[in-house]
Symmetry: C2
Subunit: 478 residues, 2 copies
C-alpha cells in the first residue's frame, strides 16, 4: 500500500502540546487528539531562560557540586538525644529573645498569628502580665526577634521559640551537627497557630514542668532514638512525616514505652505525659523537622551547588536558601494554601502559608512523599491519584532519590530529594508543600490544612544571584 | 469515504479472548492485538456450570439472603474485653483437651508442625515430661482433639489451644456473640509454627504467668478496646491485619499505654510485658482473628445464603463453611504457598498452607485488603501492582464492599467482603490468602511467608451441597 495514500485516506489526529484544553476541545467534537505535556523552558520567560543558558558551561561543575550536596543529605543519620530547655541549649537564645519561623521579620511586618504567638510567648515567659502589656513590649524594641533557622532551630507554623520552651535535641552522627525543634502541642488552640489563651499557656507550663523532664529521662534511658528508621517505616505506613505523623508518632511511643517502668516519676505525672503523647498524632512532626534541619544543614556551603538547603515562611515572606549561595535568603510573598477547612472557616479566614516545617519537603519528605501518604488527602484535599502525581512531578525538579525512603505505591522508588533551582525554573514546576492553615488573626489558631507551592520568585531571585556569583563576567565584579 | 474501503485498506487488529499469550505473540511479531480478559464460565466445567444454572430460579432469594449475611458482617462491632485463661472461658476446653486450627483431624493425619505443636502443648500443660512421652500420650487416644472453630475460637498456623493458654476475649456488641484467640508469641521458634523447645515453653509460661494478668487488667482499666477503628486505621497505614500488623500493633499499644501507671505490678513485670508487646509487630494478628471470627459467626445460618462464613486449614485439609449450609465443612487438600523464604530454607521444606488466620480474608481483610498493605510484598513477594491487583480481583467474587475499611490506593474504596461460592465457581477465581509458611517437620518453626489460594474443590463441593439442599428436585429427598 502507498503510504502517502494511507496518510490522506485516514482521518488526521492532532498532536497538542502545551495547554490541555485545546486537546479536550477537539476530543469533545469527535476528533482525534493526542495531548503532550509540554511547557516552554522557564515558562517562556526570556530573561530566566538566558540565565539558565549562561550556566550551561558550568554544568559539569554544578552537577558534581549537587552530587556532593545530596550525598551529604543521604548520608545524614539523625538521632534524638534529649529534650532540653531551649534557653539552655539553643545558641543565642538569652534574655528577652524570641526566635520565629521563616526569614527574619520585624514586629511591624509580622502576620496576625505570628503576633499572637509572640504575645503568647511573652506571657508564657512572664515578661508581661496581660495581652496589652505583651503587645506593647513586643513593639517596643525591647524584645529581640530572629529566625530559628539562624540558630540551628526550626519550629512549625509561627515557630515561636522563647527561652523556657522545651526542645528536641537531634544530633547527626555523620556530620556532627546538631538541631533543635519545639515540642508539638497538639491540634486546635495552640501557640504555634497564634492562639495565646489560658489553655494554651497552661499546656505550655505542663510541657515545661512535667513533659520535658519525663521525656528527656525516657530518651536518655533508651540511649537515644534513631529518627531515620522511624521515618522510613512511617513512609510505608501512610505518613509523609509533615502533615501526617500518625504511624511515626505511634512508632516513637513504641520505642520509648518499655523504658517507662524504670523511671522514678509520680504515677500521675507518668499518666499525664503518656496520655499527652499517645493522644497527639502529630507529636512526631517536630522531631521530623529537627531531623530534616540537621540533615539539610550538612548540605550547606557546597560551592557551585544549586541545591536548596531550606524553604521556610514567616506568614508574610517565603524564603529559600541555596547550598552554593551561603546564608542568603531569597524571598517572595508567601502564597495562599489550597486546602480543606474546619467547619465554620473558609479561605477568607486563612493566613498565607507559614512555618519552618517545609524543611521536611526540602529534605525530600512531606509533600514530596505524598505517594506514600495517600490517606493524607482526607486532611489536605484531593484524590489518591493526586497524591501519587504530586510525588511524580517532584522527581523532575530534584537531583537524587533517597532509597532509604521507599514509597510503596511507586514500587518502593526512593523519595525525590535535593531540589535544584535550575530545574524548578527550567520546568516551571514549583515544590509541593503540605501545610496547616492558621487563622489570619492573632489568637484563633488552626482552621484547616492543605497543599501549597513555593513561590516562583524565590527561585528566580536565587538563580539570578547564582549566575552573578559564579559566571565569569560577574566574578570580576565580586 | 467508503467505510468498507477503509476496512480493507487498514491493517487488521486481532481481538484475543482468554489466553493472554496469543495476543503477546502477535504483538511481538508486529501485529495489532487487543487482549480481553475472559475465562469460560465455571472454568469450562460442564457439571459445575449446570449446578450454577440450576440455582438461577433462586437468584432473588439467594441474593436477598446474601445481603442479610453481609449486613450482619458489616454491622459487627467487636470489642476486646479481656485476656483470660482458655480453660476458664473457652467452651468445652476441659481435661486433657487440645483444640487446633482447621477442620477436625485425627493425630494420625496431622502434619508435622501440628504434631510438634500438640507435643509442645502437652509439655506446657505438664501432661508429659518429655517429647517421647508426649508423643505417646497424643497417639494414645487419651487426649481429645477438636477444631477451635467448633468452640468459638481461632488460632493462627497450628492454632493449638490447650487449657492453660491465655486468650483474647472479643465480644460483638451487635450480635452479642463472643470469640477467643490465643496471644501472639512473636516470630521464629514458636508453638504455633510447630516448635516446642525450652525457649518456646518458657515464653508460654511468661505469657501465662505475667503477660495475661497484666494485659487483662490493662484492658479492663481501658474499659475494653474497640477493634474495628484500629483495623480501619491500620488499613490506611500499610497493614492488611493478617500478615502485616505493624501499625495495628502500635495503635493497640498506644490505646493501652496511658493506663499503665495506674496498675499495681512490679516494675520488672511491667517492663517485661511492655517490651514483649512493643517488640512484636504481629501482636495484633490474633486479636484481628478473634474479631473476624465473632464477625463471621454472626453471618452463620442464613437460609439460602451462599456467603462463606469460614475458611481454615489444619495443614493437611483446607475447609470452608457456608452460611446457608450450617456447620458442615467442605474440604480439599491444602495447597502449597507461593512466597519468600528465610535464608537457608526453600519450597521443599514447606508445609502446605495452614491455620485459622484465613478468617481474616473470609471477613474481607488480609489478602483481600492487600491494596491497603503494599509494603507486605516485601514479606510475601511480588510488586505494588500485584498487591493492588489481588484486591481488585476479589471484588469479582464478593457481594459487598466494607466502607468502614477504605483502601487508600483505590481512592478509599471499601474492602471486598462476603465471598459468594457461586461467583468463585463462575469466575474460576479463588480467594487470595496471605500466610506464614511453617517447616514441614515438627519442632522447626516458621521458614517464610507468602500468598496462597483457597482450593477450588472446597467451593465445588459446597456448591453441590447447596444445590442438593435448596433446589426443588433435591428437596423432596431431604
Amino acid at each position: 500500500m502507498n503510504s502517502m495514500q494511507t496518510l490522506f485516506d485516514s482521518q488526521p489526529v492532532v498532536i497538542n502540546a502545551g495547554l490541555r484544553e485545546f486537546a479536550d476541545n477537539l476530543r469533545d467534537r469527535g476528533y482525534g487528539a493526542l495531548h503532550v505535556e509540554w511547557k516552554p523552558p522557564a515558562g517562556g520567560d526570556e530573561k530566566l531562560y538566558s540565565l539558565l543558558r549562561s550556566l550551561k558551561p558550568l554544568s559539569e561543575q554544578i552537577d558534581a557540586a549537587n552530587r556532593e550536596a545530596v550525598d551529604r543529605i543521604l548520608a545524614a543519620d539523625p538521632v534524638l538525644t534529649g529534650i532540653r530547655t531551649a534557653g539552655d541549649v539553643v545558641p543565642g537564645l538569652t534574655g528577652k529573645t524570641i526566635f520565629h519561623a521563616g526569614p527574619p521579620i520585624s514586629w511591624e511586618r509580622m502576620c496576625g498569628p505570628l503576633k499572637g504567638a509572640v504575645i503568647g510567648a511573652i506571657l508564657f515567659e512572664g515578661w508581661a502580665s496581660d495581652v496589652a502589656e505583651a503587645e506593647r513590649l513586643a513593639s517596643s524594641g525591647d524584645v529581640k526577634f530572629d529566625s530559628c533557622h539562624h540558630h540551628d532551630a526550626v519550629g512549625p507554623m509561627t515557630g515561636v521559640l522563647p527561652p523556657s520552651m522545651p526542645v528536641f535535641v537531634v544530633d547527626d552522627r555523620t556530620s556532627g551537627k546538631r538541631a533543635y525543634a519545639s515540642l508539638n502541642e497538639g491540634l486546635g488552640k495552640v501557640l504555634r497557630f497564634g492562639a495565646n489563651g489560658p489553655e494554651v499557656l497552661e499546656r505550655l507550663a505542663f510541657m515545661r514542668d512535667e513533659l520535658r523532664p519525663f521525656l528527656n529521662e525516657l530518651v536518655e534511658r533508651a540511649g537515644g532514638v534513631d529518627v531515620k528508621p522511624i521515618v522510613s517505616q512511617a513512609l510505608q505506613m501512610g505518613d509523609e512525616c509533615h502533615n501526617r505523623n500518625k504511624a511515626a508518632s505511634a512508632l516513637l511511643l513504641r520505642e520509648l514505652v518499655p523504658h517507662v517502668p524504670a523511671l522514678d516519676f509520680a504515677p500521675e505525672i507518668v499518666q499525664r505525659c503518656l496520655s499527652f503523647v499517645a493522644s497527639n498524632e502529630h507529636f512526631f512532626l517536630n522531631l521530623s523537622m529537627a531531623a530534616a534541619k540537621v540533615t539539610m544543614d550538612a548540605a550547606r556551603g557546597v560551592r557551585y551547588s544549586t541545591v536548596v538547603t531550606a524553604m521556610t515562611r514567616n506568614g508574610t515572606d517565603f524564603g529559600i536558601s541555596v547550598s552554593g549561595l551561603g546564608e542568603t535568603w531569597f524571598t517572595a510573598a508567601a502564597d495562599d494554601v489550597d486546602g480543606l477547612y474546619f467547619p465554620g472557616y473558609g479561605p477568607e479566614d486563612a493566613n498565607p502559608d507559614m512555618g519552618d516545617s517545609t524543611i521536611t519537603e526540602t529534605s525530600g519528605i512531606g509533600g514530596f512523599a505524598m505517594a506514600g501518604a495517600i490517606p493524607i488527602v482526607k486532611f489536605v484535599g484531593g484524590t489518591s491519584d493526586d497524591a501519587i502525581q504530586f510525588t511524580r512531578s517532584m522527581y523532575t525538579i530534584t537531583v537524587a532519590e533517597n532509597t532509604a525512603y521507599g514509597l510503596p505505591p511507586l514500587n518502593f522508588r526512593g523519595t525525590p530529594t535535593g531540589i535544584d533551582i535550575r530545574r524548578v525554573i527550567e520546568r516551571d514546576e514549583r515544590p509541593v508543600l503540605n501545610t496547616g492553615i492558621a487563622h489570619r488573626e492573632a489568637g484563633v489558631g488552626q482552621i484547616g490544612a492543605g497543599v501549597a507551592r513555593a513561590p516562583h520568585g524565590c527561585f528566580a531571585r536565587a538563580l539570578e544571584a547564582f549566575v552573578k556569583k559564579y559566571t565569569p563576567v560577574s566574578e570580576e565584579h565580586q
